[in-house]
Structures are given as structure tokens and as C-alpha cells.
């Protein structure tokens, strides 16, 4: 775990919805909660392809990517997203997921590189705290 106190700059988070479901309320609630926790949230909204997510993550140099998915296509889409991120050299970004993800899918997603899965009913503070504690530091000192 990184020392939370050493961070002097805002955590930058990309919130994106991969795939074809149109339910963005959870993503918006999350974006709002992270904003209120002092983070800079880049919100790209619905229908994001793996390529779009990777491009946004590179251009915005985010520390964290939050993927919200309610279509059930996570096992199909997440490997593609990780392939794009790795191809772009983004291997230190913290990736978290939220939405309707069955518990038996959590381990395969973690094996892929998802750091945490926040299912329905997860308190906002849990997600906020996890991101605060695990977001990578970018240095530059």
C-alpha cells in the first residue's frame, strides 16, 4: 500500500462505460463521489470501445481507470481493454470495475489485472478509499 500522505497532486481518474448497455447512472454517481473526494474525473460516458478507453487513458495520463459495465460482456471486453493498455505501455494504471459482475467472474477479472471489483451496493467510501490507497504515484520530483 502506498503512503496516502505523500501525494500532493490530485488523483486523475477516467470513468468509462465499455460496451453497449445504456445504464450510466452508476458511472455518474461514482464520478460525482470521486470528484467530491478531491479527484479529477474525466468522464467519457457510454459506448466506449477498448481503443477509445486506451486513447483517453494515454492522452489524459490518468492514474486510475474505472470501468462500469452492466451488459454482462465484461469477460469479452476487459481482455481487449487490457491488451490495448499494455500495447500503449500503460502498465502502471490502476484499473477498477463496477456494475453487475457475478462473483464467479471476479477472479478471472483479477487475474487479468483488475485491482478491485465494486458490485452493486458497495458503499461509495469503500471505492473512494480503495482508489486513494492504491492509485500509483507519478513522481517527477
Amino acid at each position: 500500500m502506498l503512503d496516502v500522505e505523500t501525494r500532493t497532486t490530485p488523483i486523475r481518474v477516467l470513468i468509462a462505460k465499455p460496451g453497449l448497455d445504456g445504464h450510466d447512472r452508476g458511472a455518474k454517481v461514482m464520478a460525482r463521489a470521486l470528484r467530491d473526494a478531491g479527484m479529477e474525473v474525466i468522464y467519457t460516458g457510454l459506448f466506449q470501445t477498448p481503443e477509445m478507453i486506451a486513447r483517453a487513458a494515454i492522452d489524459e495520463d490518468v492514474d486510475v481507470i474505472g470501468l462500469s459495465i452492466l451488459s454482462g460482456a465484461h469477460l469479452a471486453l476487459f481482455p481487449k481493454i487490457f491488451a490495448q493498455l499494455r500495447a500503449a505501455g500503460l502498465d502502471d494504471v490502476l484499473v477498477v470495475a463496477g456494475g453487475t459482475i457475478p462473483s464467479e467472474d471476479v477472479d478471472p477479472l483479477k487475474a487479468l489485472g483488475v485491482a478491485a471489483v465494486f458490485g452493486p451496493g458497495t458503499p461509495m467510501e469503500t471505492a473512494v478509499r480503495f482508489i486513494r490507497e492504491h492509485a500509483p504515484l507519478r513522481g517527477g520530483e
Partner: protein, 322 residues
């Protein structure tokens, strides 16, 4: 971060690596030594981009217009870098950066780079790092840089210091003709854009703006009024034509170099002020100055004397540093 690893990052930047550009931009935005070192190395490579500012009230269509400009420029083979600024919360420091959502269609085009920036406490419609970020996009080789300000009210005019051409978006329904003769953002516009020209009141707005321009004294450049419907890409070619005409005007009259000189001056002043004000705050914490502050509170000395002492210390320190 070691100097060598910063230099390596700069080399990757020079070879066209977007991730390197993004990381250097973060270091600059975070005011890290690595950002300053990279910027110093790359500054000689700047000066080739044309900078377009897009400003206007919230919801006027700045992001949508920026997207339409990207599309039109790309159709001509012109590369575009975008800096889109949204406000930071004054309460928590957090921000929702939502401009990018209007600009997603060019995600697979290497000739387009879009970066969202939060104001991080800066007033004036921009963030402190926008100037330096502009240099980076310039050095990276983008032909045109579009800077989109936060939604402005009446008085956020910093964009005019950074942009070669400033576009001010107006939309119908925000007030009567008196609004058009007030000082502030209207004065800094090089091009007036009446967006959402399909909604009622657009004709009245164009008329009011035209009358406003007629009331003023004649200048060498009268801002044209361009009516657009950015969402449908209507009359974006007309807008680009107006930007090109303005660019020609600037170079023919020598105003471009004047503007750039003014910009350099402002940038140095801004950086020096920032450096000084952080130093001054430190000096206030020095023990004997703290003691003077106590005497001030007890009305034994006056504020001018303390301020003079603080300034004297800053100057002496600076002289020693040179």
C-alpha cells in the same frame, strides 16, 4: 526522478510518443522539477503552432464547436492539439472534466490530441499550467492548438493572452442588447460566434452584436460575426475561413509578433509573481519576521514597514542566488 530519466522522457517525446507527451504534461501541471526540466529542453522547438482560443458561457457549445473544428481541420490535413479546461471545486479541489465526451469521434486519429485540465484554483477561465501545456503541444508538432476555457461569465479574459485568435461563443436568450455593450469578454473577441443559430432569438443576437460593433471606434480589425450550428457542423468552414483571415491580418499588420511579445512578457511576469509570492509566504514564517508580525498585531509598527522588510529580504536572497 533523475535528470537522465527526464532526458529519456524528452527523447521519447521528440520521437512522437504520445504517452511521453502526456506524462511530461502531468509533471508540468503538477509543477514538478521534471516538468520544468523537460519544458526547458523543449522550449526551443516551439513557435510553430497557431493557437485558437474558444471561450463563452457554460452550455454555449464550446466543446461541441471544438469537436467540429477538429473534424474540419483534420479534413484539411491539419493536426490539432486540444486543451480543454473545466473548473476545480473550490471546496474539495476535485473536478469533473466532461469536455472530452463531446470530442470522442477522433479517438483513433494520431493527428488529434485532447487533454482535459482542471483550473486548480486559478481564476480567469484557465489553469496556471495552460501556457506551459501549449508550449508542449507546440513542440510536439501540432499545427493548430485549440484552448477551450471554462464556461465564462463576463470577465474571464486570460485566454486573449494565450491565443492568436480568440473565438467568443454567444448563444441566444442570455440577455438584452445592454449585455453587448459591457466591458469584459466581448472586448477580447477576435471572432464572434453565434452558435445554436437554429433557436429563436439568434437573429436578434446577431443584430445586437452588429450594433455593438458599430458603436465602437473603428479598429484595424472588426470581429466578424459567424453564425454556426456546431452540433450539426453547420458553417464551420465559414468559421475556419474567418480564423484564417484573422491570422492573415495579424501577420500583415505585424500584430502577430506584437501579440507574441506581449504574451512572452505576461508569461514571465506571471511566473515571476508566482515564484515571488510563494517565497514571500515563506519569509513571513521566518522567526524574526514572525516577531515583527506580532508587533504589528499589537499596533507597535505599521504594515508598510513589515512589508518593506519582507521585500528587502526577498531581494537580498535573489541577489545572493545570482
Amino acid at each position: 526522478m533523475t535528470d537522465a530519466s527526464v532526458d529519456q522522457l524528452v527523447e521519447r517525446f521528440r520521437s512522437g510518443n504520445r504517452a511521453a507527451l502526456s506524462r511530461i504534461l502531468s509533471h508540468v501541471e503538477n509543477d514538478k522539477p521534471a516538468g520544468l526540466r523537460a519544458l526547458a529542453a523543449l522550449y526551443r522547438e516551439t513557435g510553430n503552432a497557431y493557437v485558437v482560443g474558444v471561450t463563452g458561457p457554460p452550455g454555449a457549445g464550446k466543446s461541441t464547436l471544438t469537436n467540429a473544428l477538429i473534424r474540419a481541420y483534420r479534413a484539411r490535413g491539419t493536426t490539432v492539439g486540444v486543451l480543454a479546461v473545466d473548473p476545480s471545486s473550490s471546496l474539495t479541489g476535485g473536478a469533473t472534466l466532461g469536455d472530452r465526451i463531446r470530442m470522442l469521434e477522433n479517438f483513433d486519429d494520431d493527428g488529434v490530441y485532447i487533454r482535459s485540465m482542471a483550473t486548480r484554483g486559478e481564476m480567469g477561465g484557465l489553469s496556471t499550467a495552460v501556457g506551459a501545456a501549449t508550449h508542449l503541444l507546440d513542440a510536439f508538432g501540432f499545427d493548430v492548438i485549440v484552448i477551450e476555457t471554462v464556461g465564462v461569465g463576463q470577465d474571464e479574459v486570460d485566454i486573449a493572452e494565450l491565443a492568436d485568435s480568440t473565438l467568443l461563443l454567444q448563444v441566444p436568450g442570455l440577455g438584452d442588447s445592454i449585455q453587448t455593450i459591457k466591458a469584459g469578454v466581448l472586448e477580447i473577441a477576435d471572432i464572434l460566434v453565434v452558435n445554436k443559430r437554429d433557436i429563436s432569438g439568434a437573429d436578434d443576437l446577431v443584430r445586437d452584436l452588429r450594433n455593438m460593433l458599430r458603436l465602437g471606434e473603428r479598429r484595424t480589425w472588426t470581429p466578424p460575426i459567424i453564425e454556426t450550428l456546431a452540433l450539426k457542423g453547420e458553417n464551420i468552414s465559414g468559421l475556419i475561413g474567418a480564423i484564417e483571415k484573422h491570422a492573415e491580418h495579424l501577420s500583415e499588420t505585424g500584430e502577430l509578433s506584437q501579440r507574441r511579445e506581449r504574451r512572452a512578457r505576461q508569461e514571465v511576469l506571471r511566473l515571476a509573481r508566482r515564484w515571488l509570492s510563494s517565497r514571500l509566504a515563506d519569509i513571513l514564517d521566518e522567526p524574526d519576521v514572525s516577531a515583527m508580525l506580532q508587533s504589528l498585531v499589537c499596533r507597535e509598527i505599521d504594515p508598510t514597514r513589515v512589508a518593506a522588510e519582507v521585500a528587502r529580504r526577498a531581494a537580498r536572497e535573489q541577489a545572493r542566488a545570482n
